[in-house]
């Protein structure tokens, strides 16, 4: 900023302020003019995206040998001038992909034992239509990886008779090849603060069997059958609504399944816990900050909206499969839902062991989502991408619909 020190300069400055004061009432101001704290990342690793509605995401991404593309300090600034930018997640990443086959012929742990970053793939421009490829580094000799960044139209944000608005989202996706599978982690950040956590599974079938109990015929002859298997996707979310303290998980159940009244019960959890999905109770969870409210006095929170059509329970030596959600106090050595020994020396072995009675003030949630794959003829030669996802949705971050 040029500094004005002379009388003439001061006069010029005064003139500018008069001009500004005169024009302010006529100026459209869709977003607040607000200084944002700088994020601890630089260059292509800093994402700062503002939508047409004024909603804005700021975050850091990085690539890690095991977890692959991971995010740090995910901030959202809702559209409109009334609400400030909020820190939503301190960090988030894939925490495991556990792939047990129905014939017990293999039980893989793809993130810890193969590594998403270790097996990252090169995306071409054709794989990122309408978007921008962000390189891991720009040296052509070593540049072997890209993230595709796209702003997509997401259809109706809302509609009411003649009133309607279109929604937008920022999508960041990449690819890793593990065995015969290619995974496509896809993170979608919507213009209302919703985060859709998704992953595509594609590639080629890896295992075959003659046993009809465990596979599906995919050729004209009786051989081979593609072996049915499960992809248990796990993510780690270090929630940080308004910082690292005062986090609290609430579980919401809509009781009375089978009866005409469906009363809601809300329970707050003060200590670490393992929780399961319940379709019949419409169960969902939210992480709220107990000290932070929106302009209507309601605790700001993020809802974990399960999208569970399958539930996987494994043998006794897979204790992390006994629940879908592990609510834990932050511990930097607890990172992988299974095979966590790689995180630190002496670290607990899996998510079920992360839950050991600690009081939770800085919440880290491990959440698992299951896809069971029974092969079909169409899986040859290449399997169509099967997309799985669930959402983290703002609940009471703003007093009204921010869109």
């Amino acid at each position: 900023m040029i500094r004005f020190t002379s009388y003439i300069a001061r006069r010029g400055q005064l003139l500018i302020w008069l001009l500004v004061a005169a024009l302010v009432p006529f100026a459209a101001r869709p977003t607040q003019v607000q200084a944002q704290s700088p994020l601890p990342c630089s260059g292509q690793f800093l994402i700062d995206h503002t939508f047409p509605n004024g909603g804005r995401w700021r975050l850091c991404w990085t690539d890690e040998a095991l977890a692959g593309v991971s995010f740090y300090q995910v901030h959202f600034d809702p559209p409109g001038t009334a609400t400030p930018e909020r820190l939503i997640l301190y960090s988030t990443a894939l925490s495991q992909i556990h792939v047990p086959y129905d014939d017990n012929g293999a039980r893989f742990h793809d993130v810890s034992d193969y590594g998403m970053g270790n097996n990252r793939q090169w995306l071409t421009a054709a794989e990122c239509p309408g978007g921008t490829l962000i390189p891991l580094d720009t040296d052509p000799a070593t540049n072997d990886f890209r993230v595709c960044r796209t702003q997509t139209g997401e259809g109706h944000a809302f509609r009411y008779y003649g009133t309607h608005k279109q929604a937008s989202a920022l999508t960041l996706l990449n690819a890793s090849a593990i065995g015969q599978y290619n995974y496509i982690p896809r993170w979608t950040f919507y213009d209302d603060g919703t985060i859709e956590v998704g992953i595509g599974a594609t590639g080629r079938l890896q295992r075959h069997t003659t046993n009809a109990s465990y596979g599906w015929l995919i050729n004209a002859s009786s051989l081979p059958r593609g072996v049915s298997h499960t992809h248990n996707y796990w993510w780690r979310f270090d929630f940080a609504l308004n910082g690292d303290s005062n986090d609290q998980l609430q579980e919401v159940n809509i009781n009375g399944s089978g009866s005409d009244l469906r009363p809601m019960s809300i329970s707050s959890l003060g200590t670490e816990a393992a929780r399961t999905v319940s379709q019949s109770a419409f169960r969902w969870w939210r992480i709220r900050d107990t000290a932070l409210t929106n302009n209507e006095g309601h605790a700001i929170s993020y809802e974990i909206e399960p999208n569970a059509s399958r539930v996987f329970r494994g043998p006794s030596y897979e204790p992390w499969t006994n629940a879908e959600l592990y609510y834990t106090q932050y511990n930097g050595c607890e990172r992988y839902a299974s095979h966590n020994a790689v995180a630190c020396s002496g670290a607990p072995s899996n998510a079920s062991a992360f839950v050991n009675g600690q009081a939770v003030t800085d919440a880290v949630v491990f959440y698992g989502h299951t896809f069971h794959h029974v092969a079909r003829d169409e899986d040859e030669l290449y399997m169509s991408s099967h997309w799985d996802s669930f959402k983290l949705v703002p609940r009471d971050m703003t007093g009204t619909n921010p869109r």
Binding site: I2, F4, S6, I8, A9, G12, Q13, L15, L19, V20, L23, F26, A27, A28, P30, T31, V33, P40, C41, S42, G43, F45, T50, P52, G54, C60, T62, E64, A65, L66, Y72, N104, R107, F108, H109, D110, D113, Y114, G115, N118, I134, P135, D137, T138, D139, R149, A177, I178, G179, Q180, R204, Q206, D238, D244, Y330, G332, H339, A341, V342, S345
Partner: protein, 244 residues
Amino acid sequence: MGIGRHVRLDKRAALGLAGASLLILVWIFGGGSGKLRAGSFAAVQDNTSIRTGYDPLSPEEEARALNLARSNPGVAGLLRPGQRAEVLFVERFQEDKAVTRGGTWPRRAVVYIYDYAQDVVAQAVVNLQTGATELGRPVRGAQLPPSRAEADRALQFILADGRAGAELRRRYQEVTGSQLTQADQIRVQSGIFHAASEPDHARGPAAACGAQRCVELLLTTADGQMLGTQLVNLSSQELIQLSR
């Protein structure tokens, strides 16, 4: 002298006015700073010399971390010729939140080394700003994913094995109609095998996997046709049969 000074300041004032007027115009007609950025993407800049915070290591930083680690006497001892140890990979050190909370922290790398003789992972944490390297206590039973070099070595081991090598060549001929003459005709995917992951199969020699470093290879042709899977214990240097 005095006049010149005034002239310069007048220019500043004029520039300030022009700049501010432009900002005001942009503000009015652009609809605000948020809208100006909507849907647009900044040109990608990668200045590897200023990587910071959570940014992954640049190739230069990885190379520098490796060099600094090798100059540590403990690391040099581990990696000296004749020792059965090698670097798995180098990446940004995963700092605890207690360190990152302040917003700035030293740029550190971690070099993971596997010692096949002792079956431990050694971690050398390198401060890229000061050059200081700390060799942590070796950790047993933590099997990080295999490196490219390990996968290649495991494949060489299979090709050199009388029975497994012959079977792989036969299978390659069957699938492709041509001879397997060199290792790069095969696409190798590699992962760690833990006995604890599949206790029903990990009997006999496979029971040591996890405590020892076992690499499972998925072998295909370059176009993805399946050639088979093999398990190699890099610690004991044995080919292992799984009873799957």
